[in-house]
Symmetry: C2
Subunit: 355 residues, 2 copies
Amino acid sequence: MRKRVTLKDVAAALGVHVSTVSRALDPKTRHLITPEVAEQVVAASERLGYRPNAAAYSLKTNRTRTIGVIVPDITNPVFPPIFRGADDALMRHSYIAILGNTDSSLRREAAIVDTLLARGVEGLIMASVTANDSVVGRLAQEGLPMVTVNRRVDDAGIASVAHDEREGVRRILTHLASLGHRRIAAIAGPQDLSTGRSRHQAFLEYRAAMGLAEDDGLVVFAGGFTDAEGERCAEELLARDRGFTALVCANDLLAIGAIAALRRRRLSCPEDVSVTGYNDMPLADRLFPPLTTIRVEQYRAGHAAADLLIEMLAERSGSAEPAPARHIVLPVEMVIRGSTQALPAVSVARGRAKA
Amino acid sequence: MRKRVTLKDVAAALGVHVSTVSRALDPKTRHLITPEVAEQVVAASERLGYRPNAAAYSLKTNRTRTIGVIVPDITNPVFPPIFRGADDALMRHSYIAILGNTDSSLRREAAIVDTLLARGVEGLIMASVTANDSVVGRLAQEGLPMVTVNRRVDDAGIASVAHDEREGVRRILTHLASLGHRRIAAIAGPQDLSTGRSRHQAFLEYRAAMGLAEDDGLVVFAGGFTDAEGERCAEELLARDRGFTALVCANDLLAIGAIAALRRRRLSCPEDVSVTGYNDMPLADRLFPPLTTIRVEQYRAGHAAADLLIEMLAERSGSAEPAPARHIVLPVEMVIRGSTQALPAVSVARGRAKA
DNA sequence: CTGTTAGCGCGTTCAC
DNA sequence: GTGAACGCGCTAACAG
């Protein structure tokens, strides 16, 4: 590999001093240099193929222009759009992102954060946090700028970008109720994740407010947001035999698993039971049946999180006292597809008679 | 944020010299230090929370322990497993991966490679290359270690990890032929990508070898590996009205689009036409109908690519002359699901009569 | 406007 | 076995 060309090389080629080259190449200091010289420098550095050495820059300025993005598993279709959004936003500010997968293990999370810290990340975007995440707490105390995406931590001192979970659940229930459903089951997500918890709480709340059947036996909790858990939970619901005409799942993967479990029991969706998901992940419209779900803009969330973090970074170098943490809430919308349908007239009638 | 702890801090705390600390912390030089002192150093550095400064290390040693991984778009479900495999392998060797998205634009690719080079990546894993990629060529000439995954470049001098495309196509055609299909259409992938090209060539070859209908009108070329292109191509095939009972698609997304297009025309899969995909991407088993496809182990490919690259890095620092580029070919297997079925007896009979 | 100087944190020669 | 000195490539303060 050809040796790297440095500032010194460019300077030597032009017979000027290194700092002249340095200044000519930095837009913020170029005005200090005679225009012609500056031009020559730019030309020469291009000709020689000069690339600034990021390590030297970091060592000198203590800035790495690097942000860590931590997800449970990039293989889970929810996270690529988040990362992509963050990466695009960061790139625009000439930052780069380093992606870490925790596999939802706190040990791995700590290990990854360690190597990222050694690499000198200036901040962290965390899509993997549990509601009370010890690692996050520790880092926050050390003053490392952080923003959580999609999920939140209980500590309101940590900035976040999330979606309006309550509104999403409200729309799902409103939709199902308008189709005549009264006995609505639910597969709730893990309760140590803010998304699982707030969706479940909104479910309980709106179920009561809308006068739907309030039966604890209609809810089962998933141990993770996976299709396998969706299958397991749906089977448990069916085994309980409480009778339900609709099933609200805390995310799309759970819904996919649930539909598979129904089918195995010769129940079809939506004819026998309407099923809803949450997230509108890629391909949700290509499944059978196409999933009625809540669309959350993951790309936008990642983008917003990165923008927020960069803002925080800029502020920090400005004033001394930290501003209070910002919390951005993104709107959601419902997409109605084939997995939900109206109850047959007779059932609707019966439902109404009861009410 | 608390100021970073450096070697100097640790040395000061113990009243020894910086270089003593440096040596005690490096496994390779620890033997030069009195065991007790070494222990003290280790203890103190842990207590103070010392983290080696990666920038300083890089500047000194000219090694960044950083690898760039370049994909077209991490949002495409094919790539997360590849990245994950690479990342896991790299981490094990205390390397880190930096992910870049090209959006299949050569301009973006060049820009990303530039910033990665500035960051001092020691090598590149490229999942995004076109068959004759100018950027790759340039880098190869400069001697930057590189390996392509999944796809290849024409230049055999570039190491690669890929799958046995010919075998995959052979199995698909054998499977369809055994079900009685004789007129088999194809949606071929982009011909500037090695995967698209080799799958197409294998298709032509085995179609002839197996005595299947050889009709140029049965093949249409997609401009990209997307479901939208799948729809477009399927519509074109139907418009041509050549009559076919099976449709071989160059990847799963194309197949998904094709099935949607068929359905819109009131044709159902597999009753009216059997459809096959390629890749066995996540959720391929959850679609309707579940996709018969070729399983390629993307995670393993990414892992192998990273291992290979690290080997190359180690060799390079050893001997002077470069070893010839290695090319790893991973086996594939077929997974038969609901999207293919046997022709009704009558059609099979007619097919045989013709032969 | 430009050159000089210093030092970021670390590994690696040398001496001792 | 340990300390001293140097320099990786760069930016920033200070001179001129």
